[in-house]
Assembly symmetry: C3
């Protein structure tokens, strides 16, 4: 990890990289929570280019940069439509890169787009989601959240639930977890939405232990963390969807049946797969998780800008 680096994949981060970022995030958190104001990114410009709509991730990056004293220039949503009129996103990035941003945050529906952007741009590029491929900063904040809750990541048992095939947070989080010892990953999904072969192969190479489950009931009491994501209707056969959807909704009622409730995480936004009545449980960690994202992204920006 070094000043000026691009962040394209969670595979880039070693255990010590992640531990370093966590310690920077904790330092920044202490300053911010004491009400301190930071000025270390003064005069620096971050360009955020979300070619796919985003609110949460975009705002999280904007707050992170602003909290460090820097400035954000945003591509704006209209670009997405002006894309239709013809300019390629590559041309847009190359042009704006010429305006001299210190950092570019990019999201695009095309897997591999962030890597391409990093080749085009002189400024360091952070991948804020490239299609179903990866979302590495989400993985960093997820691991940070686990670390904060358990005081360690080694030995943690994580259930990943929902659309594991096309969920970019799933692959990135699995990769990030693969740096830690004795982690168990439990993939909970309909069979046709299990993780892609390329993801499993990488986990095999890294000797990560994982199991498959078709329903959360089978494994819930053995989990430290249940990481909920959405099951997307358009990705399943209608009859399959109808048969299975009920099994992928986490409610207060459902969780109360178990003797031991794991920590509940979710990358948000949630729709119907995690009902608001769960929010009152002490195990509901998703809003805290989002908040951790602020500090982790501040840590990443600080590191990349060499501040």
């Amino acid at each position: 990890m070094h000043k000026g680096m691009d962040v394209i994949s969670a595979l880039q981060f070693s255990r010590s990289d992640i531990e370093f970022l966590i310690s920077v995030a904790e330092d920044l958190r202490r300053v911010v929570e004491r009400g301190g104001s930071l000025d270390i990114a003064k005069g620096r410009i971050m360009f955020t280019a979300f070619f796919e709509p985003s609110t949460r991730t975009r705002l999280s990056f904007q707050f992170a940069m602003t909290r460090l004293g820097g400035v954000v220039v945003d591509l704006g949503p209209e670009e997405v439509s002006s894309m239709a009129k013809g300019e390629s996103p590559e041309d847009t990035l190359r042009t704006v890169d010429g305006y001299g941003p210190d950092l570019i945050v990019v999201r695009h529906r095309e897997p591999g787009f962030a890597a391409k952007a990093a080749e085009i741009c002189r400024a360091p590029v952070i991948n804020a989601g490239d299609g179903y491929n990866e979302h590495p900063t989400q993985a960093l904040l997820d691991v940070y959240t686990i670390w904060r809750v358990f005081g360690r990541v080694d030995g943690v048992r994580v259930g990943l639930m929902g659309d594991l095939k096309y969920g970019r947070t799933i692959s990135s989080l699995s990769y990030a977890l693969s740096n830690f010892r004795d982690v168990e990953i439990h993939f909970i999904s309909p069979r046709e939405l299990q993780p892609r072969e390329e993801v499993l192969r990488k986990l095999d190479e890294r000797r990560v232990r994982y199991e498959f489950h078709e329903k959360p009931d089978e494994v819930l009491e053995r989990l430290d963390v249940l990481y909920v994501t959405r099951l997307q209707k358009e990705r399943m056969k209608p009859e399959e969807y109808e048969r299975l959807k009920g099994s992928y909704v986490i409610t207060y009622e459902y969780l109360k049946k178990f003797r031991r409730i794991p920590v509940i995480m979710h990358p948000l936004p949630r729709v119907w797969e995690l009902t608001p009545d769960v929010d009152v449980l002490p195990q509901a960690m998703y809003f805290e998780q989002a908040r951790n994202g602020l500090y982790m992204r501040m840590a990443l920006i600080k590191t990349i800008l060499g501040l």
Copy 2:
């Protein structure tokens, strides 16, 4: 009134609160008009979340915060559509509140939404319009405008014209005016668009004198201020609308028929109910009124942030 307070309803403000805010607004105006630059909100972040489209109010708050040296992060318009995809505005606010804004400005079509937002959020919340319910900062700048024109608010006779039933500026302004002595309110509207019962009840409790008129002609010469708002076609029976609409258009021609022309105010934007030929009259105060909004919102932000 105190640091960290939420601003949900014009009913929160006592006479002395309003007088205090006016004096702060006047102080800030002097600094800005002398070309001075303010830095007192340095390092502070205001989050603006307009779930209903807005230009004027959003820009007014953005300029106010910027003029104080603070930074604005905006939800952006795309969120409105991403709402459709599923996340509740409550989740959005709760998440962004976790990023630590110093102040949240919120608009939403649901009456009572701002109060709900204030419960969810740790940061102070300013209501920038909750459906037909209230728009308290508009009321503050309206009263400030009256104060600047007449040197007082006591004894002023104000005609409120247009859709009084669903106009949120109408209820908030009436409440704000109720703090002052001998104010007369003249409600000028079709019968079916008179203020809601709950609004009138509050004015009764506060012993405000008010009268109803169906047309402005009946009362125009007795007014100090004619406050024009739009009559919305979709809120009336078609035949009623056709019969009455001509009576709710204020033109130069129309005003010139009277011996005494009141000060003309309008929350803007205007459509056809107030024609541009009125702009040349010395009584046309609506652009000045918008400008007063800048200073009043600066005063409010300064007070809430305790600067």
Copy 3:
């Protein structure tokens, strides 16, 4: 040229104005490229109002103001739709002008709109495109690019290709070039898309030498610069369009046929009229041209704000 001036037309700029702006741009470039941070616009606010969608020009102005240490408040794209609901852009500008921006950048599809805006607003107004009429800051950066490549503008032979009738960059660049000695302009377009009479008349008054060509082949080897713009289908008869379009596409293959390839410029965004395979040529200057826009706009803002 003076502090507080409006920038409406390229005709405003004399040769010495342009040379002055180029020297300021070069100074600013040196500071920025050395990694220096500027703070001279601290506390100043630029308001960008693009009533017609724009990405490149808007972002270029935003980066320019930000690089100078100032702040940008943007109208936002939603206003364009809220326009439909009724408020006139004149009202919008007059209102926001009252909030005290130090500078207003405006784009609108109506020719002459920027001049009207300058009359309405107390703040200086920069025309960022008014319909088919003018785009003076584009002309300044185009001339700056020519100056950087050739070390002079006098005597340069420029081919302007594409829709010359409705292309606002065409008229503005022609006007800017008219300040220099022995410039030759070659208009390359279908006959029905030659520049408007009013434009040619102004060039005649200023004794600019120009010729018309129907295809680039006729003149390409005589050019120092080929300035490519888009041919818009909707502006031509279908049969004409089909007959001619092939002649207005600049590809690597096409250029390689000539012994001498001119510098290729383009205001961007490009669509099909300039293929990406041209980017590898040393003569491809369009991304550098966009980058020059940053410094030229910084120079202009600095001059107008009197910094």
